[in-house]
Each structure stands twice: as structure tokens, then as C-alpha cells.
Symmetry: C2
Subunit: 396 residues, 2 copies
């Protein structure tokens, strides 16, 4: 038994962590564009990264550290992804972090993380010039969460305190960014999770993987997998407390909230949709069909138009490649049945009710396949004019 309480302050909720966001002049109007997370004692660190073959320079740099290295510092910049920037891009990470260590002798094995435009060399001098604004005693989670935003409409942060049966407790907190270029093939955004739990190193990667499967790997905004996707977990163990099941519960809660926040904040999105597939032949088939629904342009535009067009949903299931039969399929908008086993329930009254469901800012679309026990929930959003506007003009 354990209890979990929501608390404030995101990544600096756990003991011994500090953070802030400062301006390096990458964004307009002195908005914060460089964030740091610092721990006053060394942290174990684990990450999961994009599966894009052209992963960004800061990820390549992370992977150049020896296995099992410890760190006490993460530097994050927005506006520039430092991806597809060749050897020069990796060298730029080294130079920035080396200058950082020259500035703050307390920093050990710093990690960098970047998000923004692909294929432009890092404005390293601007970032280095901003080091003078970094105060390692600051605990400004709001500034840090805002500094890492790109096309995000709102900042994303969350933290929990977990109290174990023996009354010992630990904290876990996170900041996260992501709105476009989101696809469920892996990490799909930047997320930094801190904890003072005394988690064994070997549990970190295992629990991150389990938790990501139903959270960050279950969301889609546009089906494109970024070059920079990163989830980092930093633990300094300062609470002395840990219990595996409790930690996984809290980690999943954190990652689920942030993942659905990202889907809800999908570029141009006006609503969050949960695509639930039940009764598929296997869990893999349920996942395949649910993700196909979350990625279908015809489904996403119908949601935008509040059109309960179940034909497009059925068609997407049929095209997803899973075992299915129109005579077993059932489709629901929240609790409204619109199609069941070859019978169309789509009279004017149900159409009205289903359209009402789609006017809510979040809802669930359920497809019962009737072939087995496989289940999966994928999260997505609608696609409207704003998505086109944002992405047709991104670099200008």
C-alpha cells in the first residue's frame, strides 16, 4: 500500500533539485529559451530516445558518455534542434558544455537537450553568453517549463509525493514539451523527470520502458517522428525512500498526464480523443488499430468538424491490417452506439447525440472488434486549419 499526492513545483519538487529558464536571445522579447536542471548531488540517469536514424547532436553526445555515468546538470535550449548538423553539431554541444563547466566548476558530466528547427547550426555563442544569467540556487519551475516550449500553447509540468506504508516518502516531478512532430514510435518529445527516490539503477530503464508503452508511445499528433525525442529520468536518491510498485505507479501517472497534455496541445488541436480498441485478436493488433485511428487524417478532420462519421472509423479499422469482420464490429462515441454487428444505429437521434460528444473537449471513441482479448488506448487530437497554418509557416 502507498499513497500518491499531487504537489507543486515540477522538477524541483524532489529534494536537492534546482531549475530556471533564462533568455539567450533565441526567442523574441527576452522570453526564456534556455532551461537548466541542477541537482546538488550526483544523479543516476537513464533516457529513452528517438528511433529516428538521424538523431540529433545532443543525443549523440549523451551516448558518448561511458555506460553508467552520473550527472548533476541538464541544459536545454529551444528554437534550434541541432539535428542533421553533422560533426560540427556534436562539436558545438561539446564546446557549449565545456564552456559551461568552465563557468560552474561544480557541474559534472552535463547533458544537453535541444528542440526547434532542424538543419541549422547551434547559435552556441548566444547560449554561452547566457550562462551569466544562470543561478544554480534558483527553483523556478515555471520559467524552466516555459523555456523549453516551441509551438506549445501551454507549459506542461506535474509532480507527486508518494508516501509508502512505512511512512517514508519520495517525490517525483517533471517538465515536458511537445505539440507537433509527435508520433508514437518512441519518446516523441522532450520530457525531464526528476526524483529523490532511492531507485536502483537497474530499475530505471525497465520502469521507463514500461511506463512509456501506454503513455508517450500511445500518442500521435501528426505521425512524424522527431529527430530529438527524449525522456530523461534523473534520480539523486536524497529521500532515501523507494518501493518499485509505488514508483512505477507514480511514473505512469506523470507520463500519462504529460502524454495526454501533448496530444491535447497538438498543433492546431481543439480536442483530445482517446481511441480505445477492445476485443482485438491480440494486444499488438489492438495497438495497431488504435494507432491507425489516432493517425487517420480523415478521422482527425471529421473530429474537427464534429462529424460523427463512423464510416471513416470503420474504414480505418478495416485498412489497419488487423483481423476483423464487419458483422462483429461495434463502434461507440463515449457511450453512444452508432454501429453494431452490421446494424447501423445511426438514426437522426443518435447522430445528434454523437455530434454532441464530439463537441466536448475530450472524449473516447471505442471500437469492439469481437475477435479476442487484445486492448489498447491511443491518444490523439483533431486536425484543423491551425495545424496547416503553423506548419506551412513554421520557419518564417
Amino acid at each position: 500500500m502507498f499513497s500518491v499526492f499531487p504537489i507543486d513545483n515540477g522538477v524541483v519538487a524532489p529534494k536537492g533539485f534546482y531549475c530556471d529558464g533564462v533568455s539567450a536571445g533565441l526567442k523574441k522579447d527576452n522570453a526564456p529559451d534556455v532551461a537548466f536542471i541542477y541537482s546538488d548531488s550526483l544523479c543516476e540517469v537513464e533516457g529513452i530516445f528517438t528511433q529516428n536514424k538521424f538523431c540529433a547532436a545532443p543525443i549523440l553526445h549523451f551516448q558518448s558518455y561511458p555506460k553508467g555515468f552520473q550527472t548533476n546538470f541538464v541544459l536545454i535550449n529551444s528554437k534550434n534542434a541541432n539535428a542533421l548538423t553533422g560533426d560540427e553539431g556534436v562539436e558545438n554541444v561539446r564546446e557549449v558544455l565545456s564552456a559551461l563547466q568552465g563557468y560552474f566548476s561544480v557541474i559534472k558530466n552535463p547533458i544537453m537537450s535541444s528542440t526547434g528547427v532542424i538543419g541549422v547550426q547551434l547559435p552556441k555563442q548566444s547560449i554561452i553568453n547566457a550562462f551569466s544569467k544562470i543561478d544554480l540556487t534558483k527553483c523556478d519551475n515555471k520559467n524552466a517549463a516555459e523555456a523549453i516550449m516551441t509551438t506549445d500553447r501551454f507549459s506542461k509540468t506535474i509532480a507527486f509525493e508518494v508516501v509508502l506504508e512505512d511512512k517514508s516518502s519520495f517525490k517525483i516531478g517533471a517538465i515536458c514539451k511537445g505539440a507537433g512532430m509527435i508520433n508514437p514510435s518512441l519518446a516523441t518529445m522532450l520530457c525531464f523527470i526528476t526524483t529523490d527516490a532511492k531507485i536502483p539503477k537497474q530499475d530505471m530503464q525497465e520502469l521507463l520502458k514500461i511506463a512509456s508503452e501506454t503513455t508517450f508511445n500511445a500518442i500521435s499528433v501528426d505521425g512524424d517522428t522527431s529527430t530529438n525525442d527524449t525522456v530523461l529520468l534523473l534520480s539523486n536518491g536524497q529521500s532515501g525512500a523507494y518501493e518499485k510498485e509505488a514508483f512505477l505507479f507514480a511514473l505512469q501517472k506523470i507520463m500519462h498526464k504529460l502524454a495526454t497534455d501533448i496530444a491535447r496541445d497538438g498543433e492546431g488541436a481543439t480536442k483530445l480523443a482517446a481511441f480505445e480498441v477492445k476485443g482485438a485478436k491480440t494486444q499488438e493488433e489492438a495497438q495497431k488499430a488504435a494507432k491507425a485511428l489516432s493517425q487517420s487524417l480523415l478521422v482527425k478532420t471529421a473530429l474537427f468538424g464534429c462529424d460523427p462519421n463512423w464510416g471513416r472509423i470503420a474504414s480505418t479499422i478495416g485498412a489497419s491490417g488487423i483481423v476483423c469482420d464487419a458483422k462483429k464490429l461495434e463502434i461507440y462515441f463515449d457511450s453512444i452506439c452508432v454501429y453494431a454487428k452490421g446494424m447501423i444505429y445511426f438514426d437522426k437521434e443518435n447522430e445528434q447525440k454523437a455530434a454532441e460528444v464530439l463537441k466536448k473537449d475530450s472524449f473516447k471513441i471505442t471500437c469492439m472488434i469481437g475477435e479476442g482479448e487484445g486492448e489498447f488506448v491511443a491518444y490523439g487530437c483533431d486536425l484543423g486549419y491551425e495545424y496547416v497554418k503553423i506548419n506551412a509557416d513554421y520557419r518564417t
Copy 2:
């Protein structure tokens, strides 16, 4: 040796074929919404159909004919897909075609084909009432091509005469529709091809498959695979002439033109893009990467905005799962190199030139992978506000 000449009159260019489009009141303002193709002698027929598991009732009906059946009539309606309509949907096809044979005793083994909204029962009586408007001696290819349009902005038709070395000749013609719900997983639209070539039955399926691989299977508008996709080839052999290589050449030319017409007419599209991948490890990998480019929302919106954002192109290649290395990759907009082997050629002058390329109504984006000999060209279009408008409001 053979010669190929473009000719007029689409499906009625070959000897012995007749067609027309009439109004059954499914579309507004008496616009033609029911088309027929009739041959005055029996035809061999072969088709390729959607791989969507919930394929439409008329396809199920086609498949209920005995293998090797001959026909002389195809009836096509727009506005209603007759898909996901259960046993009643198939029964409706039977009733309509049986009424048709009652009306015209000359019709043998008629085929039906439908396109439009999914999940609504066929307005069979309206279609049957329109039989009185059908005149089997008509040769109005324009009316027929217009009757099968849904969101198409222009009708799609083409025909060739093929003159063989011995001066014998045959003709081949087609009409086609398709603009949304287009995905390269199979036939992806409705296409009716007629010929008076004396093609052996066993060549028909083989040549259709070869020709579709680089044409209808290489286009994408929105990545959604329709329930109704159909390519039908009807041959009445009346010319007495045939030569396999010449027929394949003409068939490929016809299908390539119609496939690129569909991509160009993508819902809301303003331009046609050829995505060429060269030097992939295998042909399959080239196809995978080229199709990924043609389906990436971030690439499609950048094209709409005339933004030569090569970073999104590189990122899509990297995410496609093929063997690739940023230090070997080269990217071109037509002949303008923007990225080569880790060097970014994207100075202001090249940016200007690349943006000019994207302002044309068709262009080629080439990615050289540098890993082998695999090549493929996929065709797609940009995605703009109109796509959202059309698909958010389709049923209203």
C-alpha cells in the same frame, strides 16, 4: 517496335464500347451521378480491389461471380459507397442489377461499382428509376467521366491507339475518379479501362499488377485506404490485334497519367510532388522511404507553404526505418542541392531557388541515400486549408 498515339473519347475509343452518364437525382441540379460502360460483345474482365477488410458491397458482389466470367456492362454510381452496409448492401446490388437486366435483356453479368459516403444504404429505387434515361447506343465519355466524380475538381480520362509493327492496331481507354481517401496500399480509387486488344485472359491480371505497382500504388493523398478502390480492365478483343510489350507500355502510360492526375487533384492540393528516392539499399527500402515522404504531414504542409524545409525531409527519411546515414544523404529540389553528405548547402541563394521550385505546380524532390541501387518514385501533393475544409464538412 510499336507506336503509341494519344486519341480522344476515353473508354469509348476502343471498338464496340458505349458509355454515358445520367442523373438519378443523387447529386444536386440533375448533374450526372450514374455512369455505364457497355460493350456490344462480351468482355474478359479482370480487377484489382482495395485491401481494406471492410470492402464495399459491389466488390463483394463482383467476387460472387464464377472465376473467368464474361460481362458486357458496368454500372457506376457516385454519392453512395455502399460500404459497411451488411448483407442488405449486397442484396441491394443484386436487386439493382437484376432490375437492370429486366430493363435491357442484352446485358449479361453486369458489374456494379460505387463511390461516396460510407455506411448509408444504397438509394436503389432512385438508381432503378434512372434506367429509363440509359441509351446503350450513346458514346458520351465526358458525361460518364463526370458522373463518377465525387470531390474531384476535374474529370480524368485518357486513351491511346497502339500501332504494331505489322500495322495492325488496337485501342485502350479509361475513365477514373479519385481525390480523397487515396493511399498507395492498392487500387485506391475507381478506374475503368476498356480495350479492343485481343489480350489473352492470363495476361490481364499480370499486366494490371505490374502497371499498378509504379502508378496507383505509388500515390498518396492522405494515407487512408478506401473501402471501394477498384481498377477494372474490360477487353472485347474486337481489334484482333495484340502484342504484350506494347499493351503493357500503353497500360502503364494510361495508369501513370491517371494516378498522377489523382495526386494532383488531391483534396485541397495546389501542386503535384514526385518523391524520388535513389541509392537505397534495396528497391523495397526506396519504396518505403518514398512513400513515407509522400505521406508526411510535415512535408506536405511545408510544400503548401512553399517552404523548402529539407530538415523535415531528412527527418522523414530517418524515421522511415530504412538504412541511412546523414553523412551519405543528399537532398535536391528539382536540380537544387540543399543538403549533401553532412554539408548544408542551404544558404540564402539556394533557399530562394528551392522556394521558387516549390511555387511550380509540379516538381521533384530527390533523396540520394548512398547505400545501394534501390530506386522508387512516389507521387503526392501538398496539404492545405482546403483539405481540412473538405473533410471536416464532407457529409454536410
